[in-house]
Symmetry: C2
Subunit: 494 residues, 2 copies
């Protein structure tokens, strides 16, 4: 058997173990009764240990060397590149540390699920400290191997090639631009009649199931469910999104659904014939987030989309639409409403980057040993005050405990949200320069052109090239803040 | 490390891989969109391959030899016995055959799910032939290793020590007794007013969730969902039952729930401190089925239980109970109604054994090469005519395609249903001889005594002794038809 073929079989087996771990994690978040938690954590740790042993087996290194002389097609070469990157990262870490991290993450995330609503920070804090210690250990070992600073080694794990050096000037431009921009938007925006009211969760779920297929979501290969925190998981054959329903604000969960649908379209659009190879997976979280935000922000908050969706949502939610507040103009004012709030996932696209920058700064401080977990809530509160003038003291549920990420061990992940928003804006700018009538199509419920464009340029390409290279290939230049600033300026101030 | 300890760690890891496979199979039956099937089958096959490699690792054989001189406690000795039994069975089979069977079973079961309602036998037939061929291969190899006939080797896999020699006289007694008994019951039973009507599935689910906790089901460690075929899965920390809802016959799904609750109580009552060891699992399917039928037939079809449940079910189903048909007497006549029908899982306890004996006879013929898959539907029809006077020609959905078992590769499983019913009757006879006031307790909603008795005598003992030994220990004699025949005679003819 050729080395290329042997590597493919090896990673095919790894893919199928990863499949198991992925759907068990979904089950843990969506379905599992509380009593199952401890054993589930052990089962996942066992699968991760087996995966790690396979991913770091010495024969992978040997096969990679032999395979370099064999590979012919672009895809095979790209597969070897992705495998080598994974091999380098995986072999850097001792298996005991991988197992300890997996166990600690499962336990901490379960503790967070139990304690978040009760605002019980003290209960979760020692678990978070444990996760941070383990993540720092991992970051140092990885950084040494990759020639990167520890935090950069984490960033690189979420989007290949991402560094603080890349992020800092971009976030500096946004920190310069956004606070005064947000104040200006808030001062000038027209008042809206709130659409809050009583919306039964089952009707909201009906609405979700009506909105997803026209955007291209295939229910023969996917599901939508509810969980504490919306997320997307699964491979292209079975892509699952979750959302959560408040009783009163259907727009929040509707846009959570549209956001996760963007992620899901990426998964469902990956190439079928490479689903079990590393190169056949999606790019990093910056690009993944660009796909969710492309759908949520660029497409589904456009006036064209809102004109299309208004009659659909009033019908699904059984609303008497005669009332003035159900006019298209008032819907637009609701959807384009900008407000300084506590919760990242509820934030509008203008304030959202500031939530991310806050977390990025805190992560930097934690990894520079300039901040302790004990002081984390105070530091959070100070930045909330600085960026939004909001007081979160003592309100952990709306503060430092609002997001699952840190409690699941995901440090270095947050910047990808905002870089994804910038990427979405830059991609959409390119798309509309080719298809200037896009919004007119959205207004008629026609999303064929836009989804095909994403499928062709992003989804079907999987990891054939890097995310940063892909942006240049599609838009003709590296990622900047320009398209995003132009987009929000036009949508919110013109 | 001692050999005992090393074996325990090895089987702990195996348990956690089995945990993964178990909940992924649940997901496949309950949750998964159709598109995920092929990859799920591959993932399960990968897990089964890893399990098989671990279960057959040469070091297990060596450790077993060393451990025999070390073990001290009863439980440790029993654990070694169960491990040795598993080792003997597992090492008998070549890994390629295990993988091929796993893949073929997943595919055949999925094909059955797709084709059952459409009555599409021709589509499923080649898949079933494939499963039968593979199962025959397995049975022959196992039989040779264990010194058993091939079909006995399969029976032994479902309940340790079960053979045709044991079953044949018992089934002969039932075949002698039941047909004329059923005719007599049908001739003499009082007519009932049917309780069929329109019962929304969500109200039926509410009823299920009301009935389960009083019987001891812990929702902090379990769930109830819907699937094509009711089943129970999961360990003691997370025990999941499923049911299915017809629109019109709430009693069918109510008793499916009570049946599966019996299985689930067994799982939830297993010893916590041995959950990850082979000895800590439940006994075979004969004993498992005795636990479901003990609850369903002995407890929940008793007049005491029916008196307790009537107001609960009318409230949950939002029934106006003024109507005469909602009298206790009419409920009893419905629940004790005996009828010759097509469907095993809908059958009453008097006709049920004949459904099982029919399948047992067909399996015997298939494994004796006296019957082909092509002729299976005709043979089915002949026996249905002989036992029930019913014609199933051409109606595969109500005939040979009604049960998942064969399509999931489970040959040799069916006899356990009826042996379980006999065991339940014999256990209940012993229980009521100690607690003659049991039914009075059920009438007040008090199930503490009966569940504690099961917990102490069956559930908490796990696999400390064999199922056949356990029956003798509890009831003072081996399993016979006596208690069952006495039970049905008393309930249906006195």
């Amino acid at each position: 058997m050729s080395a290329v073929k042997e590597l493919q079989e090896h990673f095919q087996t790894l893919h199928h173990i990863g499949h198991a771990a992925q759907y068990l994690s979904w089950d843990e978040a969506v379905i599992m009764p509380a009593g199952g938690g401890e054993v589930r954590a052990k089962s996942l740790a066992t699968l991760h240990k087996i995966s790690h042993e396979m991913a770091t087996a010495p024969k992978v290194g040997e096969l990679l060397e032999s395979a370099k002389n064999e590979a012919t097609s672009n895809w095979d070469q790209a597969n070897l590149r992705v495998i080598e990157r994974r091999w380098t990262r995986a072999t850097a870490l001792p298996v005991d540390l991988v197992v300890a991290s997996s166990l600690a993450s499962s336990r901490c995330e379960q503790s967070w699920r139990r304690n978040r609503k009760a605002n019980n920070w003290d209960e979760v804090k020692p678990r978070l400290q444990e996760i941070l210690n383990l993540t720092k250990q991992k970051a140092e070992i990885l950084g040494e191997k990759l020639g990167l600073a520890p935090y950069d080694a984490l960033l690189d794990g979420y989007e290949a090639g991402l560094t603080r050096t890349f992020i800092d000037p971009i976030f500096a431009e946004l920190t310069e631009f956004l606070p005064s921009f947000v104040n200006e938007v808030i001062a000038k925006q027209q008042s809206h009649v709130s659409l809050k009211g009583e919306y039964p969760p089952d009707l909201q779920m009906d609405l979700a199931k009506k909105l997803m297929p026209p955007l291209g979501f295939n229910f023969g290969r996917g599901r939508v469910d509810t969980s504490d925190h919306p997320f997307t998981c699964g491979d292209l054959w079975d892509t699952r999104i979750t959302t959560r329903f408040g009783d009163d604000d259907f727009l929040e969960s509707m846009y959570a659904v549209l956001h996760e649908t963007g992620h899901a379209l990426y998964q469902q659009g990956l190439p079928e014939d490479r689903y079990d190879q590393p190169v056949g997976g999606s790019l990093g979280m910056m690009i993944h987030e660009s796909q969710s935000l492309f759908m949520e922000q660029q497409v589904c908050r456009s006036k064209g989309y809102l004109s299309y969706v208004l009659p659909i949502l009033t019908e699904a939610l059984k609303i008497n639409a005669d009332d003035e507040k159900w006019s298209e103009a008032n819907l637009i004012r609701n959807v384009h409403h900008v407000e300084k709030g506590f919760i990242r996932v509820e934030a509008d696209e203008c304030t959202y980057p500031l939530h991310v920058i806050l977390r990025y700064q805190l992560e930097n401080a934690l990894f520079d040993d300039a901040l302790s977990i004990d002081d984390l809530p105070d530091a959070w509160n100070e930045l909330m005050d600085q960026y939004f003038g909001l007081d979160t003291r003592g309100d952990f549920n709306n503060g430092v405990m609002q997001d699952v990420h840190w409690y699941a061990g995901l440090f270095g992940y947050f910047p990808c949200y905002t870089l994804g928003a910038l990427t979405a804006a830059q991609l959409y700018h390119t798309f509309t320069s080719i298809h200037p009538d896009a919004e007119t199509q959205f207004a008629t419920g026609d999303f064929e052109t836009v989804v095909s464009w994403l499928r062709e340029n992003i989804h079907s390409k999987a990891q054939l090239t890097s995310g940063f290279d892909r942006i240049v290939e599609i838009t003709g230049k590296p990622l900047t803040t320009e398209a995003f600033i132009s987009h929000v300026s036009q949508r919110y101030l013109s």
